[in-house]
């Protein structure tokens, strides 16, 4: 189908975009990569009166190194993230997860900011943000607000962004020395949304787990860290028995839904299998062999 009519604005500065957003009220939508929004418009599932296209806004794209973290502009394309050596080195979890996002022609347009703001429960980027405790840098005419990932993802397709706020950057803490990360996912076909995906990052100090991060996509309304599973791993050697116990804990704690693609029970099984896979790879990459 074809999209309904809308007023179209393509501001070139952030100030102009934020003014448009504030002045247009709740009937306005931001257009980033369009890879989630345009299908919704084409189906007429949404009829925003105003579209604010931020593709020509300067200063909100690109990957910056800020010491202990990467600052990734909201309009940075998923394709740029996928091929960035800086991301591969400093945030390997984001690098691997991005390879699972849709197909190459969709990553050419899709943005990290759009994925976070869209907050699809099956999307990979929000799961990475939850695991790594990313910070969402949001701007409105009223000023800047920094929101921790844990408070940003509220529910299915729902974030803490106010209608006049724009996500301008995502800050991703760099992987510590001696840590390993892995993203494991199952989808019906490569490029489809995940039935279940698990993000894991393990830091080892003297062969013992000093930090563990586990989160998931497709396994609940919004991405969360699985604290109980992480606790199981802490101070241990992340050996197969501990990995199995952590995987069972994730499977018990997650909150999957059933739909035409997979039942909730099957997704729960996948949660366990994907957690095992992700943890085993993360541990191997952290330099330990089980």
């Amino acid at each position: 189908m074809k999209p309904p009519r809308f007023d179209y604005h393509a501001p070139e500065s952030l100030e102009e975009a934020l003014d448009l957003l504030a002045d247009s009220g709740p009937d306005a939508r931001i257009l980033a990569g369009g890879q989630s929004l345009v299908p919704v418009l084409n189906f007429r599932l949404a009829r925003p009166g105003v579209l604010i296209d931020i593709n020509r806004v300067t200063g909100i794209a690109g990957i910056g190194d800020a010491g202990d973290r990467l600052t990734i502009g909201a309009m940075t394309r998923q394709r740029e993230i996928e091929v960035s050596e800086t991301v591969a080195r400093a945030a390997p979890l984001l690098h691997e997860a991005t390879g699972h996002v849709a197909h190459l022609p969709i990553r050419s347009r899709g943005t990290i900011g759009g994925s976070m703001a869209n907050a699809d429960p099956a999307a990979e980027d929000p799961a990475v943000a939850a695991a790594l405790e990313a910070t969402m840098v949001c701007r409105s005419r009223r000023g800047e607000r920094r929101i921790a990932a844990a408070g940003f993802f509220v529910d299915v397709l729902t974030t803490a962004l106010e209608p006049d706020e724009m996500l301008v950057a995502v800050e991703i803490p760099k992987i510590p020395a001696g840590a390993g990360a892995a993203f494991a996912e199952i989808s019906r076909r490569d490029g489809d949304f995940a039935l279940a995906g698990v993000a894991a990052q393990i830091a080892l100090a003297n062969g013992r787990v000093s930090d563990a991060r586990i989160s998931a996509c497709g396994l609940g309304p919004a991405p969360v860290r699985f604290r109980e599973a992480e606790e199981i791993l802490l101070d241990g050697a992340c050996e197969p028995a501990a990995i199995a116990a952590a995987a069972a804990s994730v499977a018990a704690a997650c909150d999957p839904h059933g739909d035409v693609h997979a039942s909730a029970a099957y997704r729960r099984q996948l949660a366990e299998a994907m957690t095992r896979r992700a943890l085993a790879s993360a541990r191997e990459r952290a330099g330990g062999s089980a």
């Binding site: 369009g34 890879q35 084409n42 022609p105 490569d190 490029g191």
Partner: protein, 158 residues
């Protein structure tokens, strides 16, 4: 009442201008405004890949972009691949490997494959299969497509 604007793009090396309402999809602009019907339209929600074209050198779904967003862009469509009567090497390989039947998916397959091979010249066959899953084909069963893309990739770019 409809707010139309003039959109100028370079398509297959030629500057073209047309009028577009902001809600006009790039796919419809190419097909209906510029008359370039080689780009096919299947689903209009990003799933089938038939509408894939290159914008500034990268494959994108033309059904998920508005024509006004392409102002000033370089666009390549399937019409630009052949050199007169001589088919592009990938098109020749599609013919050799029987990589098409009805041909509906073929424009999207070709434009996707060209970008994929440029993006990752060293793909394994499994990676080619995964990458070409970006476009749906209801006829061929993909074998011929995978073989054509593999031979194209192994021979470098034509």
């Amino acid at each position: 009442m409809s707010d139309t604007r003039s959109v100028t793009v370079t398509v297959n090396g030629e500057r073209r201008t047309g009028e577009a309402e902001p809600r006009l999809l790039l796919s419809d602009f190419l097909r209906e405004t510029l008359g370039l019907t080689g780009t096919h339209v299947g689903c209009e929600h990003g799933i089938c890949g038939a509408c894939t074209v290159h914008v500034d050198g990268e494959a994108v779904r033309s059904c998920l972009m508005f024509a006004v967003q392409a102002e000033g862009a370089e666009i390549a469509t399937v019409e630009g691949l052949a050199d007169g009567e001589t088919l592009h090497r990938l098109q020749q390989l599609f013919s050799k490997h029987r990589a098409l039947q009805c041909g509906f998916c073929t424009p999207g397959m070709l434009m996707t494959a060209l970008d994929l091979v440029r993006h990752r010249p060293d793909m394994t066959e499994a990676e080619i299969r995964s990458g070409m899953a970006a476009v749906l084909c209801r006829c061929t069963g993909y074998e011929g497509i995978v073989h054509a893309v593999a031979e194209y990739a192994s021979g470098g770019e034509a």
